[in-house]
Symmetry: C2
C-alpha cells in the first residue's frame, strides 16, 4: 500500500480510526460512509477522506467503505508481520506498569528487555525478563535489533543515560521522562507521555473554569 507521506496529525488519528472501526466491525456494521465516520469521530467527511487518501485511499466514493476491508487495511498499516523489538529502561514507579501494559495490549511491539541504573534493581525478574544493567543497553540493542526504547526514568536519570540511548542505534523512543531526546538527535522518532503536564493542564482548566 502506498503512503503519501502521512503527516503527524494524520498518523495520530490512525489509532482512533482503528478503535472505532474495530467496534463497528464487532457490532456487525458492514458499511460506513465518510460522513458517518466523521460524525462518530467529531471530524468532517472531507478530513476522513483526505486521511484515508494519505494511506493509499481505501474505499470507493458513493458506496461508502466496507468496514471489514477498511479495518483490515488499517491493521496492515499498524501491525507488521514481525513485531518491533522494544526494551524498557527504569523498572521503578511507572516502569513496571508500562511494561505490563505493553505485554497486555495488542500492539506492534514485543518487549524483550528490561534495564535499570540502580544496582539493587539489576537481577530482579519481571514478566519473565531479568533486569540488566544500563551498561549492557547498547550491546543488547545492537545484538537483538531493538527498534524502540521505552524511557521510564525521571528527567535527570534520562539525561545521564542519554548517550547510551543515542548510541544504541534504536529508531524510536517512548518517552515518559521530561528529558528532550530530540535535541540530541533530531532523526529519533519520539512520542512523549508527560503525565504530570497532562494532569496540570486538567487541574488548571478545572480551577480557572468560567473565568
Amino acid at each position: 500500500m502506498s503512503n503519501n507521506k502521512a503527516s503527524l496529525p494524520v498518523i495520530r488519528r490512525l489509532p482512533r480510526y482503528y478503535r472505532y472501526l474495530s467496534e463497528l466491525n464487532a457490532n456487525g456494521v458492514k458499511h460506513i460512509s465518510s460522513s458517518q465516520l466523521a460524525k462518530i469521530l467529531g471530524s468532517t467527511s472531507s478530513q476522513v477522506r483526505q486521511d484515508f487518501n494519505c494511506f493509499g485511499g481505501f474505499g470507493q466514493q458513493g458506496v461508502g467503505y466496507s468496514t471489514e476491508l477498511l479495518l483490515e487495511q488499517i491493521e496492515h498499516l499498524l501491525f507488521p508481520e514481525n513485531k518491533l523489538h522494544a526494551v524498557l529502561v527504569g523498572v521503578d514507579n511507572m516502569g513496571l506498569p508500562v511494561a505490563q501494559f505493553i505485554r497486555r495490549e495488542h500492539t506492534a511491539i514485543e518487549l524483550i528487555g528490561l534495564f535499570d541504573t540502580e544496582d539493587e534493581k539489576v537481577g530482579e525478574e519481571h514478566l519473565g525478563i531479568t533486569v540488566k544493567p544500563i551498561e549492557d543497553l547498547e550491546s543488547f540493542c545492537k545484538e537483538n535489533n531493538v527498534d524502540i526504547i521505552v524511557v521510564c526514568t525521571g528527567r535527570e536519570k534520562a539525561k545521564a543515560i542519554s548517550e547510551h540511548i543515542i548510541n544504541s542505534g534504536v529508531k524510536g523512543i517512548w518517552n515518559y521522562s521530561h528529558f528532550n531526546f530530540s535535541v540530541l538527535d533530531s532523526s529519533l522518532i519520539v512520542e512523549n507521555v508527560h503525565l504530570r503536564d497532562n494532569l496540570m493542564s486538567l487541574s488548571y482548566r478545572v480551577l480557572h473554569r468560567g473565568e
Copy 2:
C-alpha cells in the same frame, strides 16, 4: 491575576514553562528573555510573550523576565491554596500506579478516594484508602466536594459507569479509558491519556519511516 481566556494550546504549554523555569531557577539563572525561553522550548519569542499575556502579562519587555518572579506567578496559577479533590475509579492494571503517581508528584490534586466495580477489589486498602463500591461514587463525590474523577477502567466499564460519573457533579475527568465522556456532557473538562494510541503512533512512525 487576570486571565484573558487562555486557549487550550496555551494552557497545555503552561506546565512546560513551569518545568523549564523551575530548572532555570534551581540552576541560579536570575533573568531570562522571551527569546532565550523560546529557544529552550523550541518556540518563538513572540509566542512566549503572547502566552504570558494570556495569563496577565508577567515581566517587562526589554529587561527580560525575573525567573523567580515568573515561576512564582506560574505556580500561583497552577497550584491553588486548597488542593482539588480527586477520586480514582478502577484500581486494576494502570489504576494503582496512577494513584501512586498522583500521591508522589507535586500537583494541585489530592487523592481522597478509590472506587472499583469488582466486588473482590472493594475493601482492599491502597495508599491508606479503602476501595469503595462504584454505587457509593455519587454520594461520596457530593459529600466531599470532589472536583476530578480519574477513570482507569477499560472502555466498556467506563461506559457502564458513565452515568454514576456524570451524576457525581465533578468538573473534570482524567480519562485513561477510551470512552468519550464529552459526548454525554460537553461541559465536562476532560484530559485523555490514550497510551495505546500513543504507542501505535510511535510504532507506525518507526515502521514507515523514510517512506
